[in-house]
C-alpha cells in the first residue's frame, strides 16, 4: 500500500472550483508545484498532456487550472477560470500540447510542465491521482534529474553539503524520511527528502535557517 492519502482532508476536500478534482484541482496543484520549484517570474509555460489529460483537458478546464497553479491561485479562487487572461496580462506565454502514446511517468492523468525565463528552465512531471491529490515523479532543475517516489510532501534543499546532516536530524524529529537522495555538480548541491507527513509552516521556516534555498512541495 502506497500512502498517498495521508489526511482526512485529502478525501473530504479540497473545496474547489469544479468540474473535476483530478483534472482541475489536481492540475492547480501540479502548476503550483512547478511555480514553487521555479521560484521566480516565468515568461513561458509549456504543458504536455498525456492519456486522459490529453483526451479531456479542454472539457475539464485543465488548461486554466494549470496556469492558475503556476500563477499561485488556490483551487477555490474564483479567478481560477480566468487564469489564461491573467497569464497574458502578466506576460506569461502559454502553450498546451496533446501528446500521443503512454505517459512517460506511467499515469493516465499526466502533465509535464516546463517553465522558463531568460536565465533558467525547469521541468516538472506530475500526475493527478484523484480527489485533487498529486504525485511528482520527475523534476529537472539546475542540470539535475530528480526521480522522487511520487507522493508529497517532498522537500528540496539547495546549499552546502555539510548542511545535509543538520537538516536530516531536524527533519527526523518532525516526521519519518521515506527517501533521501542527494545530487551534485561542481557548482551546486541539492538534497531531496520524501516525507511521511505534511509539515506545518513554522516547521518549514525552522528548516529554512541556514539553507541556501528550500522548496517544500
Amino acid at each position: 500500500m502506497v500512502l498517498n492519502y495521508k489526511s482526512v482532508f485529502d478525501i473530504i476536500g479540497p473545496v474547489m472550483i469544479g468540474p473535476s478534482s483530478s483534472h482541475t484541482a489536481g492540475a492547480v496543484a501540479i502548476g503550483h508545484a512547478a511555480r514553487k520549484i521555479f521560484h521566480a517570474p516565468a515568461t513561458t509555460l509549456t504543458v504536455r498532456y498525456y492519456e486522459s489529460f490529453a483526451e479531456t483537458h479542454r472539457g475539464h478546464g485543465t488548461d486554466y487550472a494549470l496556469v492558475a497553479g503556476v500563477l499561485g491561485l488556490p483551487p477555490a479562487d474564483p479567478q481560477v477560470p480566468n487564469a489564461l487572461t491573467l497569464a497574458q496580462q502578466q506576460g506569461l506565454t502559454v502553450k498546451f500540447i496533446e501528446m500521443a502514446g503512454p505517459s512517460p511517468i506511467g499515469h493516465p492523468n499526466t502533465a509535464i510542465v516546463t517553465l522558463s525565463n531568460e536565465q533558467r528552465t525547469i521541468e516538472v512531471a506530475g500526475c493527478s491521482i484523484g480527489g485533487g491529490t498529486i504525485e511528482i515523479r520527475r523534476i529537472t532543475v539546475d542540470g539535475f534529474e530528480l526521480k522522487p517516489s511520487g507522493p508529497l510532501p517532498i522537500l528540496l534543499v539547495w546549499g552546502a553539503k555539510d548542511n545535509d546532516q543538520r537538516i536530516q536530524t531536524k527533519l527526523a524529529k518532525m516526521t519519518k524520511i521515506m527517501r533521501q537522495q542527494s545530487y551534485n555538480t561542481a557548482a551546486k548541491h541539492l538534497v531531496e527528502f520524501d516525507l511521511e507527513r505534511s509539515l506545518q509552516q513554522h516547521e518549514v521556516d525552522s528548516l529554512q535557517q541556514g539553507a541556501a534555498e528550500l522548496v517544500y512541495l
Binding site: F9, I11, P14, M16, S20, E55, P108, G131
Partner: protein, 296 residues
C-alpha cells in the same frame, strides 16, 4: 494509519469508540494540528457542501456553460412539491441534493470534493436528507464527514478514487460506500455494520465505467451521483437490518482495484467509450468543441 477496514473496525471495537472519533484522533496525531483546528477544517468543508446544495436548489438552479446539464434539481424540487413520488419523498430529497451539487460542479461553481469533484454530490445527497429526516445536530453532521473520510482514505490508499485509473466505480462507487458507512454510524449502528454497508454499497456499483460525454463531468456524472446517494441509503438500511455482504469490505475494495486495472482505457475517463461513443454523445462533443482533437 489504518491499513484496512477490518483493522479500523477492530480498533473501534477494542477502544469502544466510533469510527469518526478514531479518524479525528488519527488526524490530530498525523497532522500536528489541534483537535479544534481539525474540527474547524471539517466545518468549513460542510459549509461549502451546504452552499452548493443551496445554490443548485434555489431559483432556476445551476447551469453549465455547455448546456448539457442544469436546472434538473429544480425540476425534482417542483415534482416533489406537486406529486406523490414513486420512490418516496425522502429518497427524492437525497436525489435532489446530489443532483444540485453536481450541477453546481458542472457549472464550474464551488464544491467540496468527496472524494472527488465528479462524485461530490453523493455524500451531500445523503447527509442533508438525513439532517432533516433524523434532525441531525451540527456535531453529527461533522462526524458523518469524518467517518466517510476514514473509509475513503483506506479505499484511496488500497485501490483508487480517480475515474481515469478505476472508472466511475472508484468515484461514485467509493463515495457511495463511504456515505453508507457514515449513515450507519449516524443512525446508531455498529462499526461492523458500517463496514457491511460499505461492502454492499460498493459491491452494487462494481464495474461502473467512466464514460463522460465530450470528456466533461456532466453526462452521465450528475445523475450517477443520485444513484450513489440512494444506493448508500439502501445499503445502510440493509446493514442496520442485519443483512451482510458475505464478501468482506476489504475484499470488495480489492475487487474494485482489480476491475479498475482490467478496465479498458476507453472506459476510464477518456471520453472515448460507453455513452461518450454513442452517436448522440459524439454529436454533442462535435457541437461543443467543433472538431476532434489532434495529437502532436
Amino acid at each position: 494509519m489504518y491499513a484496512t477496514i477490518a483493522e479500523l473496525v477492530s480498533a473501534a471495537e477494542t477502544a469502544d469508540l466510533s469510527l469518526s472519533e478514531l479518524m479525528i484522533q488519527q488526524e490530530v496525531a498525523n497532522s500536528g494540528n489541534s483537535r479544534d483546528e481539525v474540527w474547524a477544517g471539517m466545518e468549513r468543508n460542510l459549509e461549502a457542501m451546504a452552499a452548493a446544495v443551496k445554490r443548485g436548489s434555489t431559483g432556476e438552479g445551476a447551469f453549465s456553460k455547455t448546456g448539457l446539464t442544469g436546472g434538473e434539481a429544480i425540476k425534482l424540487k417542483n415534482y416533489r412539491a406537486t406529486h406523490q413520488s414513486l420512490s418516496g419523498d425522502t429518497m427524492l430529497a437525497a436525489v435532489q441534493n446530489a443532483i444540485a451539487t453536481n450541477e453546481v460542479n458542472a457549472a464550474m461553481g464551488i464544491v467540496c470534493a468527496t472524494p472527488t469533484a465528479g462524485a461530490s454530490g453523493t455524500l451531500p445527497g445523503v447527509l442533508f436528507m438525513l439532517e432533516e429526516r433524523l434532525n441531525l445536530t451540527h456535531e453529527q453532521m461533522i462526524r458523518f464527514l469524518f467517518t466517510s473520510g476514514a473509509l475513503g482514505m483506506i479505499i484511496a490508499n488500497n485501490a483508487m478514487i480517480a475515474g481515469a485509473t478505476g472508472g466511475c466505480q472508484a468515484e461514485v462507487g467509493s463515495a457511495s460506500g463511504m456515505a453508507a458507512a457514515a449513515a450507519v454510524e449516524i443512525a446508531g449502528g455498529t462499526p461492523e455494520q458500517s463496514a457491511e454497508a460499505l461492502a454492499m454499497a460498493l459491491s452494487n456499483l462494481l464495474g461502473l465505467v467512466c464514460d463522460p460525454i465530450a470528456g466533461l463531468v456532466e453526462l452521465p456524472c450528475v445523475k450517477r451521483n443520485a444513484i450513489g446517494a440512494t444506493n448508500a441509503l439502501i445499503s445502510a438500511d440493509m446493514a442496520l437490518a442485519g443483512l451482510t455482504n458475505k464478501i468482506p469490505a476489504d475484499e470488495v475494495v480489492g475487487a474494485m482495484k482489480k476491475i479498475g486495472e482490467d478496465m479498458p482505457q476507453t472506459l476510464r475517463e477518456t471520453g472515448r467509450g460507453g455513452l461518450a461513443a454513442t452517436p448522440t454523445g459524439i454529436k454533442m462533443k462535435m457541437r461543443i468543441f467543433g472538431q476532434d482533437r489532434d495529437f502532436e
